[in-house]
């Protein structure tokens, strides 16, 4: 039997995997790496190191950035420099102690040392000023938006240098939602102009410094952005929804990029979930997509589900169908 890591490589390089890559089995997330602050549970709120206020009201599924006039960090994009602050929490070596301990215990024959990044570049722009302001600014104040994006890109590069020095990750799992279920937030041209160059810079830097695998999360439609994803150096697009026609994408781009997802969190991860529903979704997508360039996974990303047991049930069904199909 191949190790989880070998099996992944066979799958994304078009070799001979001996089973489906089962969700995140080839990744070990090092969540101890210093990140900016986030809400810890319902009923909490926190202002993070960027000055963004996050609120998680009781009874809600997750946190939300607060964007009323008072709490938007950037109130006028042309004056963005006056509003932003750049965190430096990660520059203190002590912040890395726990992460380093964790890394020592990772069996690198089985798993990649993985760092998950949130927010992505686009997400940072709308966390700072709200989605509407951020999207309109791409048209109305393109120069200021380019500057803002460069500022965050520089931060990500500075962080990358320290990260590489401190723990030397072998996989990067970048979060940045680029669309809704049926379309991208912006046109592929706008995306290319504003976001491709920065990601290309960051991902190339990682690849030149020991990172073997770049995963990108966008649980949305984004088929029209795949050429840009390939150009920026993404190896695996995680979160791919079935609204993308995944088999067609595999046919067209397999070998250049692989697709991870196909099991919609919204359709299987809810309070009344059961095994039969999960089996149906797992079977359908695995049979449609086949053995290469595809990794069955919940679209939401990371190794969790909103409702207890769902993630594990999906893993069990993938194991079962692997035995049938391989």
């Amino acid at each position: 039997m191949l190790t989880a890591k070998q099996n992944l490589q066979e799958t994304i390089k078009g070799g001979k995997p001996d089973r489906f890559v089962n969700q995140n089995e080839f990744l070990e997330f090092v969540f101890e790496a210093p990140m900016t602050s986030f809400c810890t549970g319902p009923g909490t709120e926190i202002e993070d190191e960027w000055g963004i206020l996050w609120r998680w009201p009781e009874g809600q599924l997750g946190p939300f950035p607060v964007h009323d006039e008072e709490h938007k960090v950037i109130k006028d994009i042309t004056e963005w420099k006056q509003y932003v602050k750049t965190p430096d929490h990660y520059k203190n070596p002590e912040a890395w102690i726990e992460a380093k301990e964790h890394v020592k215990q990772i069996d690198q024959n089985e798993k990649y040392i993985t760092i998950m990044f949130f927010p992505g570049i686009f997400e940072m722009t709308h966390s700072l000023m709200g989605m509407e302001d951020a999207l309109m600014a791409l048209y109305e104040e393109p120069e200021a938006m380019h500057e803002l994006i460069d500022w965050y890109t520089d931060y990500l590069l500075d962080y990358a240098k320290v990260l590489i020095e401190q723990i030397g990750p072998t996989a990067i799992y970048q979060h940045d939602d680029w669309g809704s279920q049926i379309s991208t937030f912006m046109s592929p041209e706008t995306f290319k102009e504003f976001f491709l160059p920065s990601y290309k810079k960051i991902f190339s830097f990682y690849k030149e410094n020991g990172v073997e695998l770049i995963l990108h999360h966008s649980d949305s439609y984004a088929a029209t952005l795949v050429p840009s994803m390939i150009e920026m150096g993404i190896d695996i697009w995680q979160g791919v929804m079935t609204t993308n026609n995944i088999p067609a994408l595999i046919k067209e781009y397999g070998g250049k990029i692989s697709f991870m997802g196909g099991i919609h969190s919204g359709e299987v991860d809810f309070p009344e979930w059961n095994e039969a529903i999960i089996k149906e979704h797992v079977d359908r997508i695995c049979k449609k997509c086949g053995q290469l360039y595809f990794i069955p996974n919940l679209t939401q990303g990371a190794d969790v589900s909103s409702f207890p047991g769902v993630y594990e049930a999906v893993t069990a069904e993938i194991d079962r169908i692997s035995k049938e199909m391989f």
Partner: protein, 209 residues
């Protein structure tokens, strides 16, 4: 190019900084306020169709709506007191348990551009709040409910049923990524539209405009 045509193109292109002046020029050239407004409504119709067809995206739609509202600002003093162009009031909100509002905001803009007076209740709106808002506002002809999470689909159902129980005649339209026509029928909503572009036509159809 006629002055009205210029206004139309500025709205479609989302040139919010230039629309006000163009509207003024059209008025000076003798165009009627109502005709200018109709032209802008038609532009937003085109924008909505292009959005539904995937030719344009959220930013283009946002800037077009912003441009239209700048144009409307200019017309307001001229048209004050003239409510003949209003299709009536529409109450809109994202249902309880759900905080997503981008889709809702786009629908608010499209319905507003189509001629509805919009009352936006925001996000996380309990079912009873919709009913209260219907009572608090004049001439409410339509309620629009948005839900983006599969986990808040029961809240969408509750909203529709609470409104229908209190006011069986009130028209209710629903939408949001997980909502389908079948689901809308099942929970007793009068209408559904898959995106903001098609929401205006559906809303008008529901109220018989």
């Amino acid at each position: 190019m006629s002055k009205i045509q210029e206004v139309k193109e500025l709205v479609e292109g989302g040139k919010s900084k230039k629309v006000a002046a163009a509207v003024q020029k059209a008025l000076e050239a003798g165009d009627k306020a109502q005709d200018i407004l109709d032209a802008m409504v038609a532009s937003m119709g085109v924008v909505g169709e292009k959005f539904s067809a995937g030719e344009i995206f959220v930013p283009e739609m946002l800037i077009a709506a912003k441009a239209m509202s700048k144009g409307v600002e200019e017309l307001k003093p001229v048209m004050a007191g003239d409510s003949s162009s209003s299709l009536g009031t529409c109450i809109m909100g994202t249902v309880a348990g759900d905080l997503h509002d981008i889709g809702k905001n786009l629908v608010v803009m499209m319905l507003e551009s189509a001629g509805f007076d919009m009352v936006d209740l925001g996000v996380d709106v309990p079912a009873e709040r919709f009913v209260e808002a219907i009572k608090e506002n004049d001439n409410v002809v339509l309620v629009a409910c948005s839900g983006l999470l599969t986990t808040t689909m029961p809240a969408l159902k509750e909203a529709v049923q609470t409104i229908k129980a209190a006011m069986p005649e009130m028209k209710v339209i629903v939408g949001g990524a997980p909502v389908t026509q079948e689901y809308a029928d099942e929970i007793g909503a009068d209408g559904y539209a898959p995106d903001a572009g098609s929401s205006a036509a559906k809303a008008k159809e529901l109220i018989g405009a």
